[in-house]
């Protein structure tokens, strides 16, 4: 066969979309002069004291494997951080697993609990990995749309309507990438009741929780009866600006963490020790730096939302994360065409909403993880672009 090995690729991997988005990313990468609002990570570098802790650990010769679950010192810090900030108590010895980012934690959670053919409910638009991760675990993703009218919080009724026999897991991510949506406590309570009624396991990715600008973040794991059926995922990438350290964690009931540990042990062994040491420092002394970054994100959010609305793009104010998700429906263009035109004519990169699932159609994601000056310049250009479009129409 002369297909270069193509026929060896597994069917379910073949079936994963390699959408036009990747091609769009490639175009952006080839235009270094463009202003990018497409970056899904903090523009801040990791606070120095955290980097310094990693250097110090390296200096001391910390270059070994660790316990599969992660350093116990780190798991203790995680346990008390989660208890203090989310009101849920986990045993550091048995209920906490340190992973290579929330990315890995999510993957092993799904692989640990899903049998082939199981169904997973998740809300959309969502982080790009969700649906593929479910498929890679040989399960079936069932998307539940969220909408601008609800500011992209989840509507429990829609979850209930989407439920079908065979659903085993409900995946949640608040604040949401790409919409910044959050879900208020009352609705989470209703979801929790539904999860209990239908015996669903909830996997809750709360990676943006520190970056909640309004109201208090509620973890579904903290609601009555939920801890025993929730895998809580969190990490250091966003709030502590530690994306490159590749470190995150999962907390949950012991049997589930044990199951995840098996997958983790045989695929990853453990998270890198230097990153674990850095994470300990982050949890012990990182709060002031997090607060300072959050303050800046908050101001940038207010700025970008105001500018989008002035530019004629209807934009709700995201309650968390560092993403704005303006509607581009007024322009009459689809997301990808809008983004390509914007890049081409004004050299500004934003991400088409459809990158985050079909229900992102009519929206774009603009990250405000960048300076005021760039936000101002980018939104000025977007305004000019939208003006031109409306003249043409």
């Amino acid at each position: 066969m002369s297909d270069n090995g193509q026929h060896f690729v597994a069917d379910h991997v073949k079936g994963l979309p390699r959408s036009g988005i990747r091609d769009f990313f490639a175009i952006v990468a080839a235009m270094p002069q463009a202003i990018s609002l497409g970056i899904g990570e903090p523009d801040f570098v990791t606070p120095w004291h955290i980097r310094e802790a990693a250097i110090f650990a390296l200096e001391k010769g910390k270059t070994s494997y660790t316990d599969n679950l992660g350093l116990i010192r780190l798991r203790r810090e995680i346990s008390s951080y989660v208890e203090d900030n989310f009101g849920v108590s986990y045993h550091p010895e048995t209920d906490v697993l340190v992973a290579v980012g929330v990315s890995e934690a999510l993957d092993i959670a799904l692989r640990a609990v899903l049998n082939p053919g199981d169904k997973v409910l998740y809300h959309e638009p969502c982080y790009v990995s969700y649906s593929p991760s479910i498929v890679l675990a040989h399960a079936q993703p069932i998307a539940v749309g969220t909408s601008a009218e609800d500011q992209f919080g989840i509507d429990p009724e829609r979850v209930e309507a989407a439920w079908e026999p065979g659903c085993k897991v409900l995946m949640l991510n608040f604040p949401t990438n790409p919409t910044g949506g959050v879900t208020e406590r009352a609705k989470l309570e209703r979801l929790a009741k539904f999860a209990i009624e239908k015996d669903l396991l909830v996997i809750s990715d709360e990676i943006y929780s520190e970056l909640t600008f309004e109201g208090e973040h509620t973890s579904i794991a903290s609601l009555p009866g939920m801890q025993e059926r929730t895998i809580f995922l969190h990490g250091f990438s966003k709030a502590f600006a530690m994306t490159g350290f590749r470190i995150g964690y999962a907390c949950g009931p012991q049997p589930l963490i044990e199951a995840m540990m098996k997958v983790h042990q045989y695929s990853m062994l453990c998270a890198p020790i230097l990153s674990q040491e850095a994470a300990i420092e982050a949890l012990r002394h990182g709060a002031p730096a997090v607060a300072k970054m959050k303050e800046q994100y908050h101001r940038r959010r207010d700025l970008i939302v105001r500018r989008f609305n002035e530019a004629g793009l209807n934009c709700h104010s995201p309650k968390g994360s560092f993403y704005a998700f303006p509607s581009i429906q007024s322009t009459g263009l689809d997301s990808l065409t809008f983004c390509k035109g914007l890049l081409d004519q004004q050299e500004v990169a934003v991400v088409p909403g459809t990158a985050f699932g079909p229900s992102g159609a009519g929206f774009v994601r603009a990250s405000f993880s960048t300076s005021y000056e760039r936000i101002l310049e980018a939104t000025d250009r977007i305004e000019r672009y939208v003006e031109k479009l409306s003249k043409k129409a």
């Binding site: 497409g38 899904g40 700025l303 990169a349 990158a355």
Partner: protein, 160 residues
């Protein structure tokens, strides 16, 4: 702290219109706040933070420890102010410890600073002694690192 002042301290160069955008205030509100900050002498000026090594060849800076004798009325203030008025003095602080004033001085070259110390500073009545330390190299200036290479080039321009 006033939000305008906080924004200034973040250090991005923004004009009044841009500051108004960032803070969601009108330009006149920003102007009014700046005027107030200046009037109350909270905001003293607008000097940029520069890397002196790159900007001005031959510019020499020194820190000088100065011992002075306090006066019956006013302690150190009169003498300190008198020293601080010299153009060569960039900043001047009253210190606890082994000496009284810490003076940051600048000149075109070594001799310039030396002559300031020997002819101007030490001859002021009430100055008891001076110890001058020349600065060799700056590593950080008002929060900005000077020697660290800044590259963010490995970061992808778009990420999920």
């Amino acid at each position: 702290m006033s939000s305008v002042l906080q924004l200034l301290l973040e250090g991005e160069r923004l004009d009044t219109a841009q500051m108004a955008q960032v803070l969601g205030m009108s330009e006149s509100e920003i102007e009014a706040e700046l005027t107030r900050l200046k009037a109350e002498e909270i905001l003293l000026g607008w000097r940029p933070v520069i890397n002196a090594d790159r900007a001005q060849e031959g510019n020499v800076r020194a820190v000088i420890e100065v011992k002075i004798s306090p006066e019956r009325d006013g302690g150190f203030d009169r003498l300190a102010t008198r020293i601080a008025r010299f153009d060569a003095v960039e900043s001047c602080f009253l210190m606890s410890g082994a000496y009284d004033l810490l003076v940051f001085a600048v000149g075109n070259d070594l001799r310039d600073v030396a002559s300031f110390v020997s002819e101007r500073l030490s001859t002021v009545e009430g100055v008891l002694s001076t110890a001058t330390h020349f600065m060799l190299r700056a590593y950080k200036e008002q929060g900005y690192l000077l020697l660290a290479p800044s590259d963010g080039e490995d970061k992808p321009a778009v990420s999920p």
